[in-house]
C-alpha cells in the first residue's frame, strides 16, 4: 500500500489533494483517477457544461507526478 495524491487540473486551475488515498499500486490509482474524472464530469454535466481538456495528476507524497489521467481518455464519446 502507498499513498497517492490526486491533483485536479481544470484548464490551468489546480485543486491540490492534501490528503491522498492509500491504494495497493499505481494501477489502482489510475482506476481511482478515471472514476474521479467521470464523477467530476458528471457534476459539470448537471450544470450544463463539460470540459474534456482537464486532467488529474497522480503524485506521490513528495509531489512527483507518477501518472496523468486525461478527462478525454476517461470517457468514450460518440455522436455526430
Amino acid at each position: 500500500m502507498a499513498r497517492y495524491f490526486f491533483h485536479l487540473n481544470q484548464c490551468g486551475s489546480v485543486t491540490a489533494d492534501l490528503e491522498g488515498l492509500d491504494l495497493p499500486d499505481l494501477s489502482a490509482g489510475r482506476e481511482t483517477a478515471i472514476t474521479a474524472a467521470r464523477d467530476v464530469m458528471c457534476g459539470e454535466l448537471l450544470n450544463g457544461a463539460l470540459c474534456l481538456g482537464c486532467h488529474i495528476d497522480i503524485a506521490d507524497a513528495k509531489g512527483h507526478v507518477l501518472l496523468t489521467v486525461r478527462f478525454i481518455d476517461a470517457v468514450h464519446v460518440t455522436g455526430p
Binding site: 490526486f6 485536479l8 481544470q10 485543486t15 489533494d17 492534501l18 490528503e19 488515498l21 481511482t32 483517477a33 472514476t35 474521479a36 474524472a37 464523477d39 467530476v40 457534476g43 448537471l46 450544470n47 488529474i56
Partner: protein, 309 residues
C-alpha cells in the same frame, strides 16, 4: 449543563459550591429522599465518602455513581441524549445507570457491528465518531449516517437481532457495550424509557429521509454543505463542540462516501466552499468559517431533526 458533587450524607441538604444547580423545594426534597432510598436499595448503605453527583437538565435529575459502576463519561454520554428525548424521573434514570456497561477503547476504522451478524449487545458511543454504512456489490461504500458521543448506535438491535448495516469507527473511540437483554428489560419495565428509545429511532429515520433527499436531489456542493451543517448542528446541540472553528473529523473520502461522490470531487467542492467563505482550510484540516453562509449554501433547515439540534 452543570453539576456538582456532594457526599451521600449531604443528600437532603442543599448542595453548594461551584456548579451548584440543586435548589431546595418540597417536591424536589421528596424526590431527593426517594432517590437516596433507592440508591441504598440498589447499592447498600453507603459509607462515608461515597460520592454521588447531581446533574440537572431542566427539571430532570440524574445521578452519577462513582463506585464500582459505570464511569462518569459513560453516564454523561448516555444521558446527554436520553434526557433530551424524554423527561425521565429518578427511578428511570437510576435503572438506566445500573446497566452493566462494558467499556472499551478502540482504534479508528474498527468494525463495531458487521452487516449480516447476529447482535447480542448494543453499543453506546461515549467518545469519538462512528459511521453507519453499507457496501454495494462492487465494493462502493455508502455512509448512511454519522454518530457522535451520546448516540446509542444500535437500539434497533433490541428488536431486530440481525445487523443490516455496518458500524465502523472513524476516529479512535470509547464505547460502552450493554447486553441487549438488559436494555430490553429496562424498556419493558419503564414505558417512558421505551418511548425515549422509540423517539430516538424515529428521529434517526427522519435523518435518513433527509439523507435520501440529499443524495437524490441536491447538487454536489449543496449536498456536502448540508451534510456538514447537520453534523455540526447535532454536535453542538449535544454539547460536544461549538459550531465554528472546530475541526471536522472527516476525510475527503468519508465525505464522499456519505454524499455519493469521489474524494477528488469532494476536494473540488470544498475548495469552492472555501473560496465562498464558508470554510477555512489549514493544510489537511478544515473548519467552518462562516456558519450562516454555510447554512444558506446548504439550504439547511433543522426542523427535521425534531429539536434534537
Amino acid at each position: 449543563m452543570s453539576y456538582s458533587w456532594c457526599s451521600f450524607a449531604d443528600m437532603g441538604t442543599e448542595i453548594s459550591g461551584s456548579g451548584s444547580i440543586y435548589q431546595s423545594g418540597t417536591a424536589r426534597f421528596g424526590l431527593r429522599r426517594r432517590l437516596g432510598k433507592r440508591l441504598e436499595r440498589l447499592y447498600g448503605a453507603p459509607g462515608d465518602g461515597t460520592r454521588c453527583g447531581f446533574i440537572r437538565y431542566g427539571t430532570v435529575f440524574r445521578y452519577l455513581l462513582e463506585y464500582g459502576m459505570a464511569a462518569d463519561d459513560i453516564i454523561e454520554a448516555w444521558f446527554r441524549k436520553l434526557t433530551r428525548l424524554m423527561d425521565l424521573d429518578g427511578e428511570e434514570l437510576a435503572a438506566l445507570t445500573a446497566l452493566s456497561f462494558r467499556r472499551e477503547e478502540t482504534e479508528a476504522n474498527r468494525y463495531l457491528v458487521k452487516e449480516g451478524t447476529q447482535v447480542t449487545r448494543c453499543c453506546l458511543l461515549v467518545d469519538g465518531y462512528v459511521a453507519r454504512h453499507k457496501m454495494s456489490r462492487n465494493g462502493r461504500r455508502q455512509i448512511v449516517s454519522f454518530h457522535m458521543s451520546g448516540d446509542m448506535l444500535d437500539l434497533q438491535h433490541t428488536l431486530l437481532s440481525r445487523a443490516d448495516h455496518n458500524l465502523q469507527t472513524m476516529t479512535r473511540a470509547v464505547v460502552a457495550w450493554i447486553p441487549i437483554t438488559e436494555l430490553a428489560q429496562v424498556a419493558s419495565r419503564f414505558p417512558r424509557v421505551a418511548a425515549a428509545f422509540a423517539r430516538d429511532a424515529l428521529i434517526d429515520a427522519a435523518i435518513f429521509r433527509e439523507w435520501v433527499l440529499n443524495v437524490g436531489a441536491r447538487d454536489a456542493k449543496t449536498r456536502i454543505a448540508h451534510m456538514l451543517c447537520e453534523f455540526v448542528q447535532r454536535r453542538e446541540a449535544l454539547g460536544i463542540a461549538s459550531v465554528e472553528a472546530v475541526e471536522l473529523p472527516f476525510s475527503q473520502e468519508q465525505i464522499g462516501d456519505a454524499t455519493g461522490l469521489t474524494s477528488v470531487h469532494v476536494n473540488r467542492m470544498l475548495r469552492e466552499l472555501t473560496e465562498e467563505g464558508a470554510f477555512a482550510r489549514t493544510g489537511r484540516h478544515y473548519c467552518i468559517a462562516d456558519w450562516r453562509k454555510l447554512q444558506a449554501i446548504a439550504d439547511f433547515n433543522p426542523a427535521y431533526l425534531h429539536q434534537m439540534a
